[in-house]
Amino acid sequence: MIAYIVRRLILALLTIWAISVVTFVIIQLPPGDFVDAYIVQLSASGSVVRFEEAQALRQLYGLDQPVWVQYGKWIIRVVQGDFGASMEWNRPVTEVIGDRLWMTIVISFAAIIITWGIALPIGIYSAVRQYSFADYIFTFVGFVGIAVPNFLLALIIMYFGFKLFDLNIGGLFSSDYQLAPWSWGKVWDLMKHLPLPAVILALAGTAQLIRIMRANLLDELRRPYVTTARARGLVEWRAVMKYPVRAALNPFASTIGYLLPFVVSGSIVISLVLSLPTVGPLLLRALLAQDMFLAGTIVLLLGILTVIGTFISDLILMWIDPRIRAGMHE
């Protein structure tokens, strides 16, 4: 069991490291370096930077050293919580991001809860009543859910909300609360606005999980232990709910490892369409403006949060699987 936790932890750290490398690459990719960009910005506002000053800046940030040294310096600063400054906003990156990271987490989390809440019962029903009318309907709706990219779904819903109900469904807060400090009223306001984007975000994942749950359960329903349960006189629905559903729940729970990155990705895109105050719009803007520290930090933080979420779900998975608890296999 300890070995299992350690293995997962190592994998999580490895992933975070990989993300940090990619992030660093992203920060480095635009032509010229950060000082060039800085100089351009300064000269736009009228001040002139002399060559020596530029060199001094480069030395300060270690830009004259080999790439891997730069990476090392950058990562050390990041670990200390110094993510650099946003060029566009002229403020520390963390300040610019502010609440938005939490909003991303809230909306992703809500989407995952909805995903599971819908996918689990429907998946069970579809498997137990395989090839029934409802199964076909769910399968079809599921396919549509997978086929419609979520930004498109958001666009379509937004259009019809506007056209039919004259509703502007963007945003997560009413205008009264937009800039207000946190209060219970604001939380309640958030709760009211959350379901729609969360459902849009959840749809594709839900469709996928229904299919996974259905396939898993169909698999488990064929196993001898179900027949054993029936052979001792158990009522059918109990024989199904207690044994195969329990068994199918495990691979189902482990899908969070894929679901989480998927949902976080999706939240970025639909935030743009529905103008939600998550990191999504900020990331896009930073990327278009080549504000690389801001963009890099967002990519890094999103990645790390996803990995942490996956790690926690692994622990839960371990806790609910007696085979892993007993140190049997992964």
């Binding site: 027949t227 006189g233 068994a247």
Partner: protein, 337 residues
Amino acid sequence: MVEPILSVRDLVTYFRPEEGVVRAVDGASFDLHAGRTLGIVGESGCGKSVTARSILRIVERPGRVEGGEILLRRADGRVVDLAKLDDKSQEMRNIRGGAIGYIFQEPMSSLSAFHTVGNQIIEAIRLHRKLTAKEARERAIELLQLVGIPQPQQRVDSYSFELSGGLRQRVMIALALAAEPGILIADEPTTALDVTTQAQILELIRRLQAERHLAVILITHDMGVIAEMADSVAVMYLGKIVESGPVDAIFHAPRHPYTQALLRSIPSVLAAPRSRLATIAGSIPHPYARPPGCPYYPRCHSFMAGVCDKSTPPVNRIDAAHEVRCFLYGAATETAA
């Protein structure tokens, strides 16, 4: 003659997947008497397990019991036809586990990996007996003790994957006997086990049978096991019982060419020392493609063209207990009659 406790008459169980029809059980008949062991023997795929599951009415879809009778004599003397019962009815559920216990072919996967063995045994007990959780647990531990599991107090809380194959099969037996049924169906209870464990499990079944006066249906493809355990034998081929009779008659005067071939294929009984082990020529036909007439004729060395491939042979009686489905014996019985 005593009335059988279970009498199966012309049982028909078909699977009807989209691709065609699988005639898994196609008119099987046999009797089971209290305190006796009936061995059902046949090659893999001939319908033994489906027969057993038909009795309990737990054939999985697209399979269905489509005809015949399964007459079960209850403890109160009533005779019920299980083939006519609704497979979801309360009565059928009481019979499963309550009147007929079932041990499965695969001890590895017949227990849930997510529940302790105790959990599953207690469930089986409380389904049929009004006991408190605590009493049921005591009873579960007794049962584990009965089937020879060491340290039953601890084992009751283990998971199936923590047990060896032999112990698991013992747990399965405890599970089957949890509600003290009068009939035990053991579907190849030893196939998945090593030789020593096999012997132990068979010994256990024999002991329990004697102690509890159980009627046992022992399904196997091992003629050696039959010789050791059974009182009477039903030889099954492609969904039909081709020959049935007392164990002595089957072993010493087999009539059906298939029975004879089966016996030749076991090393010790009839073969000369150091001769090549005989195998049955040909192989079982594809399940969708059962031959017309006698199902065995394509592999039979006594095949009579124009007879065996034309119509299904009738059941011919050799003596009071010995029956055979083969045209070779038709004329003899007719003249005798």
